[in-house]
Amino acid sequence: MKLDKWIKSFVFIAALIGVGQARAGEVRVAVAANFTAAMKEIAAAFEKSSGHHVVLSFGERRPKALESAGTAVARSRFTYAVGKLVLWSPKPGVVDDKGEVLKHGKFARLAIANPRTAPYGAAARQVLEHLKLWDSLQPRIVRGESIAQTHQFVATDNAELGFVALSQVMKTGGGSSWIVPQALYTPIRQQAVLLVRGKDNTAAHALIAYLKSDAGAVVIKRFGYGTE
């Protein structure tokens, strides 16, 4: 599969599954690991305002695949958050705000997520290719199998710096970072779909509307994601 196609079909909250219940409804949501914290907060606010009950489970499917397989309601797929890539070091003064450290820095290890399997990794590769550093940095690149693991490599000092998600850095805070300009990589769209099983579930529809609302966007942005 092509890189940019990958990123576009990139998945995150995946399934909104309705469970038929009278009165206040219940909606089950499968959430990608990276969006867990934000989704917990959104779910709590949504429950308070709507009276519906949200059941979160953690695990991701590819919304586009679900849609083409007919498991998801056609045309229900939408982007709820756009992941932002950041070059980060837990130490202050290591990463400058233009990413010059990549060209001149004396670091032994640069951590990125695996470009073949992780969308943030594919984005990191695009950035390095853009900067014409992909080949020269090869001997110093270590690859995490997920963006969480990549963050772990840097957070434990095993790599001096790494390309991680802004949402991760906002959570831990501190250190030094460069928020990579969006022009250097294809947007990392995190998408959601409504599953066929939940198509008559009013609670599921209400949650989707909430995610798209301004109230939802405020939380999503605060956790370090963009919205479209």
């Binding site: 695996n114 399997t117 270590v142 199998e145 693991q149 790599a159």
Partner: protein, 227 residues
């Protein structure tokens, strides 16, 4: 798919051979001591040796990541000595694998040493054999099945290692990308054909190793019975 990359297979075999060798050198005295000591440290040390059996690879991997890091207990002196970081290196994988496979080598050896015929060993001493000579000529032949089990289990367990390497390896082709990681990456990238080819290769290789080893074991057993 453009030609299957066999580098991970080679790397895995090298890792398994090296890890097993290191563990035999370190594990044999440890197993001997555990088999014969009356020290009050025996039980706690036995428990520590068995820990990698119980702990999930994620726990081992997490501690190893901290231990091997640039500021870690092992990582810092290593970096001072060699100028290279220990994490994400082949040497780091060997350290990790030794921890991970330790009980698989020590436990069969300990069991074998505990089952030794003490009288034969003492008889060899009375006949003037040195300790090392009696170890080589009396102890090892008696314990050879335990030794074989230790080698097979240590080797096999390292070949099949996944979680720990995933945590501390960094997936670097030619340096830390072992077969299990390469297969995982192919599956995640939905390249099922490559995943299947590597998997089948690993399956055949593992079977061949075990088949040869158990064949040898059976011949030894037959010999021992007729002797």
């Amino acid at each position: 798919m453009d030609g299957l990359d066999l580098q991970p297979v080679w790397l895995t075999i090298q890792l398994a051979v090296l890890t097993t060798s290191v563990l035999l050198v370190v594990g044999t005295p440890l197993a001997w001591w555990l088999a014969h000591t009356r020290s009050r440290f025996k039980v706690p040390l036995e428990a520590v040796t068995a820990l990698p059996l119980v702990l999930p690879p994620t726990v081992l991997g997490f501690y190893l990541l901290i231990l091997l890091g640039a500021n870690g207990t092992l990582g810092a002196p290593w970096q001072a000595l060699t100028g290279q970081p220990l994490a994400f290196s082949f040497a780091g994988l060997v350290v990790a694998s030794c921890v991970y496979s330790l009980p698989f080598v020590v436990q069969p050896l300990q069991a074998a040493f505990e089952g030794l015929d003490r009288y034969a060993i003492e008889a060899s001493w009375t006949l003037g054999a040195s300790r090392s000579r009696s170890f080589l000529t009396v102890v090892l032949p008696q314990a050879r099945r335990g030794l074989l089990t230790a080698i097979v289990l240590g080797f096999a367990h390292t070949m099949g290692e996944f979680g720990v390497v995933l945590m501390v390896g960094g997936n670097i082709p030619g340096r830390t990308q072992v077969v299990s990681i390469a297969i995982f990456e192919h599956v995640e990238a939905m390249d099922y054909a490559a995943a299947e080819q590597l998997s089948i290769g690993l399956l055949i290789l593992s079977f061949a190793v075990l088949f040869v080893v158990y064949g040898v074991n059976r011949r030894w057993h037959a010999k021992a019975a007729t002797a």
